[in-house]
């Protein structure tokens, strides 16, 4: 008997780049992608603008940006030559689930041209970080040096547009540190865990070393080690195991750009779109959220994201922290582990968000819970979790609820 996904989707077109093999004029991998995409669009009559899911072996955010698309499903599975069969499998599931209507599975790899352009022995595939990448040509020459040097531009624009100040955002660092003092595993828990650990003030945040004005050091997250994992199962199993289930009520994803050059509004992220999808799936809204786990690579990331998630009006995200609502004992606890700012941030912080959300909603955040990790338990039964990637580029939102 066929499975539920059987015939839930179909491949409707297939095309290649204009020249393949040994092109007369060497090509780039990006060019090969775009030629094939344009050709399959022409072949099927499906406009590129109708594509709402992108699947590629690592290129998806760059391809979507190049096409000016904001896809609702972004897959970069890259596990070798079989990746594309897997992409079709993943697209089938996403279409069956009603998340997307049109999936683009794309590949471009200048295996020959890379050698032709750069000499033998340098035939690496051209991809992100390549000297021909737009960012390498049009951002890197200007001394940009990682996340802080980019995100600072968003703070400046937010201050300009809404009349906010860096001091307003400093409250996010101060309140997040309060949570860290309740989590013995947080780097900044106390003077015993770090020489600069323990409670901090707005003045201390503002007078710490300038990294990228208007961001001082204490507006920026930590750089640490981390390992984490979660298990997701079907309801029958979730009901039968000894741990408490935390239900995925809603999920959504989106992106606005890859390189900050393409960030249209420096005071907004695609979390508005990804959370709209997640809230709709959940049949819930921001008013139903009893806590939030918000990626806080920088204070400005958390402040803007709170606005995007509908937890505060535009321009006023920081007030959740400044007015104490996000603090221990407040009406909407945010980043109860101490956040990327004061708990732990390993470069990609999305797993830390998930682990803390599970611990809070399963009621196991306190000492002695079967999670085995100490912390501060809140009363929340629902949580919006939002991860932000790149340079305020990509977002994934989950609405999680307990029984």
């Amino acid at each position: 008997m066929p499975g539920e996904l059987s015939r839930a989707a179909a491949i409707v077109g297939a095309a290649e780049a204009n020249e393949i093999g040994y092109p007369e004029i060497p090509k780039t991998s990006l060019q090969l992608h775009i030629e094939a995409i344009k050709n399959v669009s022409d072949q099927t009559g499906i406009p590129i603008s109708a594509i709402d899911g992108i699947f590629s072996a690592g290129w998806s955010s760059q391809i979507a940006e190049h096409l000016g698309l904001h896809p609702r499903y972004i897959d970069t599975t890259s596990v070798g030559g079989c990746s594309f069969e897997m992409h079709v499998h993943h697209a089938l599931a996403a279409i069956h689930a009603g998340i997307i209507d049109v999936a683009l599975v794309t590949h471009g790899e200048a295996g020959w041209s890379a050698r032709a352009n750069h000499g033998r022995g340098t035939g690496r595939p051209r991809g992100m970080g390549d000297p021909w990448d737009p960012g390498s040509q049009f951002s890197a020459p200007y001394g940009i040096s990682g996340a802080p040097s980019n995100y600072s531009h968003a703070m400046t624009r937010h201050n300009h547009r809404f009349g906010t100040t860096p001091e307003d955002f400093a409250h996010i660092a101060v309140v997040t540190r309060q949570w860290a003092t309740l989590n013995p595993r947080a780097i900044m828990h106390s003077r015993e865990t770090h020489p600069q650990g323990g409670p901090i003030t707005v003045e201390e945040v503002q007078t710490s070393r300038l990294v990228s004005w208007p961001l001082t050091l204490l507006h920026c997250c930590l750089v640490t080690d981390y390992g984490g994992a979660v298990l997701v199962t079907k309801p029958e199993i979730a009901r039968s195991v000894k741990t408490k289930p935390v239900w995925i009520a809603g999920a959504g994803e989106n992106m606005s750009h890859s390189n900050m050059l393409e960030m249209g509004d420096f005071t907004a992220t695609s979390a508005a779109a990804s959370s709209a999808t997640a809230y709709k799936m959940a049949g819930m809204g921001p008013e139903d959220m009893e806590m939030a786990m918000i990626y806080d690579s920088f204070t400005v990331t958390a402040g803007i994201t709170a606005e995007m998630l509908g937890l505060a009006p535009r321009g006023e995200g920081f007030t959740l922290w400044k007015d104490g609502h996000a603090a221990p004992g407040g009406r909407l606890p945010i980043n109860t582990n101490g956040g990327g700012l004061s708990f732990n941030h390993s470069g990609m912080y999305g797993m830390q968000l998930l682990v803390e959300a599970y611990r809070q909603l399963s009621g196991t955040a306190e000492d002695g819970g079967y999670s085995g990790l100490p912390g501060k338990q809140t009363k929340a039964r629902s949580c919006v979790v939002n991860g932000t990637g790149g340079s305020l580029s990509t977002t994934g939102t989950l609405v999680l609820v307990s029984d």
Partner: protein
């Protein structure tokens, strides 16, 4: 010309590799390497086939921009396809070289050659033709960011980084 394993190698003078062709350098065997001049110790962009008209223009003191001939919109950075209407009919034209500051930051930490220049002011520029470029601002005081105005008018200028590559910087006017 046939090389090892019967693979056809190519030594034609590609338009985008005109400089290497002029020197008689075969494109297959010679790496298209970055040339770092002694005077300029910061990253030098490496033009690619798509962006070559921009860098050729920069060397001649012109801000060349890509424009879709179907929807007439200007996009930045250079694309293989128009990001607005998905046409592949794209032309290059000379822009006004003027714009306004969209947002900025003052970099107090940098790496490589830029480390010697801190603090310096980076900015996103809304170009008059309608998209946005990134730059290091000239004509501003990094120690007084409060004196730098979002919306201030700027004009492009080109600084030679190597014999072939001149980099656009924007100056407050």
């Amino acid at each position: 010309m046939t090389g090892a394993r019967g693979i056809r190698s190519v030594t034609v003078a590609y338009p985008q590799f005109a400089d290497s062709a002029r020197r008689g350098v075969p494109c297959v065997s010679a790496p298209f390497r970055r040339r770092q001049s002694l005077a300029y110790n910061k990253p030098i962009p490496e033009p690619d086939p798509l962006s070559r008209p921009f860098w050729d223009g920069a060397k001649a003191g012109k801000l060349m921009l890509p424009r879709c001939t179907d929807c007439n919109r200007v996009h930045w950075y250079p694309r293989w396809i128009c990001p607005f209407c998905h046409s592949r009919n794209i032309e290059w034209f000379e822009g006004s070289g003027e714009g306004r500051i969209h947002t900025f930051a003052v970099q107090h930490r940098a790496f490589g050659g830029w480390a010697d220049e801190v603090p310096f002011v980076t900015a996103y520029i809304d170009i008059n033709e309608g998209d946005r470029m990134f730059t290091v601002l000239r004509g501003v005081d990094p120690s007084k960011p409060e004196t730098i105005q979002i919306g201030a008018r700027v004009r492009v200028e080109f600084e030679p980084a190597s014999e072939d590559v001149h980099i656009p910087f924007w100056r407050v006017i």
